[in-house]
């Protein structure tokens, strides 16, 4: 058999093809640049799309304004009209009427009725999610209103109905078993394609009750790597990029094509302590560990913003919860050593404290789902050692913290806690600092006064009445330190200047697509 010169032709053809592709590359890019008015607005964020279940992925559809909740949130974070135009509560505090907006249509053209809304809420309540923690007796429909009857008064009901797990979907979204098979919502954008785990394609919904959005087509891309997200903003591939790593921010700020916004969300990185362990049961030991931390230094070096050092649980942006004039948590090594000495700890030969033959050694557990946590843990380890506390850092999975909270094997955990799941931070405070503690909050620590303050707050709606109780709560937490605040957080949103109307949402509830429009670059 002769080996005819076919391979050479194939190689040649291949080379010609490759040259052709390379020659086309810039042309294709330019062609896309010319058709700019028709392009889909691209939003890039770190959150993957896991599927359609509102309990696990409702946030994707509220952020993209595909689905909506009965209650919205205003700029100050307070409950505001959503699909419900308003609500009333009976004097007994038990029966709530949520008046439904009229003329609202789902993306399949069917009208929104109180019966449909009530059914969506009943499904949300039966599923995993915050609504299952609300003392609800019944949810029903009554001429144009959703009626929720509670077992006991609970003023936070509207805030819970703003959570993304309570989105209202059309009946055709569900299959008979109750599983969500399509997202048919009421928002300004329809989900045309949902391609887990990385992509959602959107089209404008012409019949939205809030008016016609300016941008016709949009898409969401999940990009897990922070470096890649920054590069997508710089290359112009992405129009809006949410969550930028601190190291990339300065570079993006210098880019004339990009506009960078930063907001402070209600999120705090904190040390969750096991107050039942012999190491941390003494409040003096907890205060000493807090006094060992150089928060400004941590925030300056690792977060590139010294203002993010958390001298109390809530950042100044969370009004009503940030307690003005509260003595701040500071670094004072001498005071820390004194407190530890008072608690009976003496330095051993290697500088690590000892008491009754036991070393002050603990495991600091954290996880890498938030990229800043492992370096923060390493820095905390070094700072704790300066006062003689020996911490071993263990980096694992997010679930290690609540799992070890349950089985009691956690000494110390560094976590990133959001107080925005329920737009009213009280929703999270109830979960974290009640009598039994919380998976992400206090562990083996409880205070009768805190529990009673939380009980009273849960039935109060008036901010003015709530403020003094919230302040007292902040004072107790600052003195007792069931959790030690370390740093606050910053959310950076980068937008290409060809898009106008971009607003960073500190509660991370919405990208605000409906308010965006194409501008001149």
């Amino acid at each position: 058999m002769l080996f005819v010169p076919r391979p050479r032709r194939a190689v040649l053809r291949g080379l010609i093809g490759l040259a052709g592709l390379l020659a086309l590359a810039p042309a294709a890019g330019a062609a896309e640049g010319r058709s700019a008015p028709e392009r889909a607005l691209t939003v890039v964020g770190p959150w993957e799309v896991g599927g359609l279940d509102p309990a696990s992925n409702g946030h994707a559809f509220t952020r993209l304004q595909v689905a909506e909740t009965l209650v919205g949130v205003d700029a100050a974070g307070a409950p505001a009209p959503g699909l419900a135009t308003g609500w009333t509560v009976a004097p007994d505090g038990l029966t709530w009427h949520f008046l439904l907006r009229s003329g609202v249509r789902f993306h399949d053209g069917s009208p929104l009725t109180a019966g449909i809304a009530a059914e969506s809420l009943r499904r949300a309540r039966a599923n995993v999610g915050p609504l299952s923690r609300v003392p609800i007796a019944t949810i029903s429909a009554e001429d144009g209103a959703v009626v929720v009857v509670l077992q006991r008064p609970f003023a936070l009901l509207p805030a819970f109905l703003a959570n993304h797990t309570t989105i209202i979907l059309a009946p055709a979204s569900y299959e008979p078993s109750g599983r969500v098979v399509r997202i048919i919502g009421t928002g300004p954008y329809c989900a045309v394609t949902v391609a887990p785990p990385l992509r959602i394609e959107l089209e404008r919904f012409e019949d939205w009750w809030g008016g016609r959005p300016a941008i016709a087509r949009a898409r969401y891309l999940a990009v897990g790597q922070g470096e890649t997200r920054a590069l997508m903003a710089e290359s112009g591939e992405a129009d809006v990029v949410v969550s930028i790593l601190p190291v990339s921010l300065a570079r993006l700020r210098r880019n004339p094509k990009l506009a960078v916004q930063t907001v402070t969300p209600p999120r705090t990185r904190l040390l969750k302590l096991n107050a039942g362990s012999p190491l941390f049961s003494d409040p003096r030991a907890r205060r000493a560990l807090s006094l060992a931390l150089d928060r400004t230094g941590l925030a300056k070096v690792l977060l590139r913003n010294p203002g993010l050092g958390a001298d109390q649980l809530f950042p100044p942006a969370v009004s009503g919860w940030h307690a003005e004039g509260l003595p701040p948590l500071t670094r004072d090594l001498a005071q820390a050593r004194l407190l530890l000495a008072q608690a009976g700890w003496r330095p051993g030969t290697d500088g690590i404290l000892e008491r009754d033959g036991r070393r002050f050694a603990a495991t600091l557990r954290t996880y890498s789902a938030w990229p800043e946590l492992p370096p923060l843990a390493a820095a905390i380890q070094a700072q704790a050692r300066e006062v003689g506390i020996d911490l071993a850092v263990s980096i694992g999975n997010t679930s290690d913290i609540p799992a070890r909270h349950r089985d009691g094997s956690l000494d110390l955990g560094l976590v990133s806690r959001s107080f925005a799941m329920i737009p009213d931070p009280l929703g999270t405070m109830l979960q974290d600092f009640g009598l039994d503690g919380g998976d992400w909050g206090a562990m083996n620590w409880s205070s009768a006064e805190t529990a009673s303050l939380l009980d009273r707050l849960a039935v109060l709606a008036d901010p003015a009445e709530r403020e003094p109780l919230q302040r007292r709560l902040a004072e107790i937490l600052q003195a007792e330190l069931p959790v030690i605040p370390v740093t606050w957080a910053e959310l950076a949103v980068v937008a290409n200047r060809r898009v106008a109307g971009v607003r960073a949402d500190p509660l991370e509830r919405s990208y605000g697509l409906a308010e965006m429009r194409w501008g001149t670059p």
């Binding site: 592709l21 890649t228 679930s399």
Partner: protein
């Protein structure tokens, strides 16, 4: 030929057994509570509670004894089912089907691109072994292979997306999104295949039959095409089978970096979330791809060198 196919079939069955059992065992001995891990991936850290984890445990029957769970998986596999993902609840086969396509495209284009880059370079270097070009190609190959795909990918993004603004740094959909990830993989592959091709060509060039072909007066081109390429191709193609390992591990890293929705990306997430059926399914598909690729390599080698199939 039948024996070859039968042998590979038995190999495929063994791969299924070993991969399935090993993944199951490895995921089980990971520290931590499976229900909490699955709930963490489903609901995200901010919404993860012990209550959610308990609901997951009940729903998936995670407290049942492990032999039951493993036997159930093998039983379903025998019927062609890969089970359901513990995180999303969707059938693993559907999730893999939607993610295998992009990965195959990526792997295939990387392979083709690497051959387009590596073979001509190897051929020229081999024909002029020891020349300046040969040395330059060696330095280039060592440098490219030494760079981890993660770094190489970032460098390509900086050049082609930021500086030249030709290609998007991430995403999926058209060939433009696929260009950079496949080039990242292709450069790593070409680094080695160009050297293998160079050595093969140089070795063939030094043989007596090659010199004889020249001596009998054949033009240089005919010598190369008739006696050179075919003999040099065998080690190069055999090596392609081994390259699959680099390709598979490269796909895992490159897909995460370029936010490319493939099977490597799925595998990483499934391991983190302890989604046992997804880990088993993804690893199984990758293992079978490896078997299939080797079968292709065997068949190609026999086609090129009939002596291999002559029953010796």
């Amino acid at each position: 030929m039948t024996r070859l196919l039968l042998g590979r079939l038995v190999q495929a069955a063994l791969v299924a057994l070993v991969v399935g059992g090993l993944c199951f065992a490895l995921v089980r001995v990971l520290p931590g509570d499976a229900a909490f891990r699955i709930a963490a991936d489903r609901y995200g850290p901010d919404a993860l509670t012990a209550q959610a984890a308990e609901a997951v445990r009940q729903e998936l029957g995670l407290d049942r004894p492990w032999p039951e769970l493993l036997l159930r998986w093998f039983g379903e596999l025998a019927q062609g089912h890969l089970g359901n993902s513990l995180v999303s609840g969707e059938p693993v086969s559907e999730e893999l089907a939607s993610q295998l396509g992009p990965s195959l495209w990526l792997a295939a284009s990387a392979l083709v691109l690497s051959l387009l880059i590596g073979l001509p370079l190897g051929l020229v270097s081999g024909l002029r072994a020891g020349s300046g070009l040969d040395r330059l190609a060696l330095i280039g190959a060592v440098a490219l292979r030494a760079l981890p795909p993660f770094v190489l990918g970032l460098v390509l993004m900086l050049v082609f997306s930021i500086r030249l603004e030709w290609l998007p740094p991430a995403g999926y959909g058209t060939w433009r999104e696929m260009a950079l990830p496949s080039l990242t993989l292709a450069l790593g592959l070409a680094a080695v295949s160009s050297r293998v091709a160079r050595d093969a060509v140089a070795a063939v060039g030094a043989t007596t039959y090659y010199r004889f072909a020249r001596l009998k007066g054949l033009p240089e081109r005919a010598v190369l095409v008739r006696h050179g390429l075919r003999n040099a191709a065998i080690p190069v193609i055999t090596y392609l089978g081994l390259q699959a390992v680099y390709l598979i591990e490269g796909v895992v890293v490159v897909e995460s970096l370029f936010a490319y929705p493939g099977i490597g990306h799925a595998l990483v997430h499934a391991v983190i979330a302890r989604d046992v059926p997804m880990v088993q399914g993804a690893a199984l598909v990758m293992g079978l791809m490896f078997v299939l690729l080797n079968l292709g390599v065997d068949l190609l080698c026999r086609l090129l060198d009939p002596r291999l199939g002559a029953g010796r």
